[in-house]
Symmetry: C2
Subunit: 214 residues, 2 copies
């Protein structure tokens, strides 16, 4: 209801100027909006949207990603600490990731602590939730390889990565899930001293994304 009230309020120029928000309506306009760097504050969806093919498409947000020759998806596989997830989104935006994708078990990307730690990354960077099925379909359709981080993985070398790549980072305690391991074309790791059990997941993500950057 609050979103409807806001949308109604935004019909007035004064309200738009005060809130620095506007309403965007219609399938075509929303398709464009989703391809832009603008942030969407909220969505109001009529049930009839599903009756139009392009409308149904809109709700599958991974597919809203433009078709590119070069992807860097960062997949969060049950990362649970809001501070870590926010820092990861900030890092992903800084290091050229196309989109961050949260799998089930990951803390809500719009949790206030996540938003605070992300320092604005939500507003100029794609971050979305997805199931494994949706991610599998997207990867199959677009030919995206999957690498998962794991302590037993290979150290990354520069320039050795496929042009379309989804990198999976895992839970703070247990690492990436079996589902990620089964799907992974490769396991990768940051080599560390044997006296230390692991790196913080946001730090490890930063190092790997930096290595993958071109």
């Amino acid at each position: 209801v609050r979103l409807l009230t806001l949308a109604r309020d935004l019909k007035r120029r004064k309200a738009r100027e005060r809130q620095q928000l506007f309403v965007c309506e219609g399938v075509r306009a929303i398709e464009e909006l989703l391809r832009s760097p603008l942030a969407v504050r909220g969505a109001i969806v009529a049930p009839q949207l599903q009756d139009v093919p392009r409308g149904a498409e809109l709700e599958r947000s991974l597919d809203a990603l433009p078709a590119h020759d070069h992807y860097r998806l960062l997949v969060l596989d049950a990362v649970q600490d809001p501070g870590n997830v926010g820092t990861i989104l900030r890092t992903a935006a800084a290091l050229g990731v196309t989109a961050a994708v949260a799998l089930p078990g990951t803390v809500d990307l719009w949790n206030a602590k996540v938003v605070r730690s992300a320092m604005g990354a939500h507003f100029h960077h794609s971050a979305m939730s997805s199931t494994w099925d949706e991610l599998d379909a997207f990867r199959a359709a677009r030919g995206v390889s999957l690498w998962a981080t794991d302590a037993t993985g290979d150290p990354l070398e520069r320039d050795g990565a496929p042009r379309r790549l989804a990198l999976v980072v895992g839970n703070e305690g247990s690492g990436v899930s079996d589902a990620a391991r089964e799907r992974a074309d490769r396991l990768v790791a940051v080599p560390i001293a044997s006296s230390v059990e692991s790196l913080n997941v946001a730090v490890a993500t930063g190092i790997l994304l930096h290595e993958l950057r071109r």
Copy 2:
């Protein structure tokens, strides 16, 4: 008083086995202890220690670092968030840093939140406090270069770093201090997207330490 009680208790084998702690006494033994990877749980110091040159030396912990051909010091210049500092200590231990050095303005390295975030790094890695004067003296005596991180700095290339290097990372909001800038042989940075203001300091530290690793 609690430390004295503990030290007294540790005279009994049963107590040592239960606590997994022991008492180490005497200047020579403590010199060796400080060169070992063992963690020191506490120190009880007699005022007379200052009367012996080697005793006075013991209290200047930077000088207790063994003389090596290769150093990687990580210098924390007013890093204030305990979670960041703990994560940085964990990262430094994992990525081969010789010692982490906290300058004034940095949160106490033994703050409970720092210790928790460091995930045990305190116990097998050198972490100490220091003033700029002490660090300057140590750098002069051992020929250690100083690099400071700054958004305007050069991207790091691999294999381009001096064998003895102190890397300074700065405050979450304001970056490294003027004192660091004045002393720096070089300013270095991780290149990031223009839409993002900065990386989290622990993530940036991880990326730079990884790059410096050899």
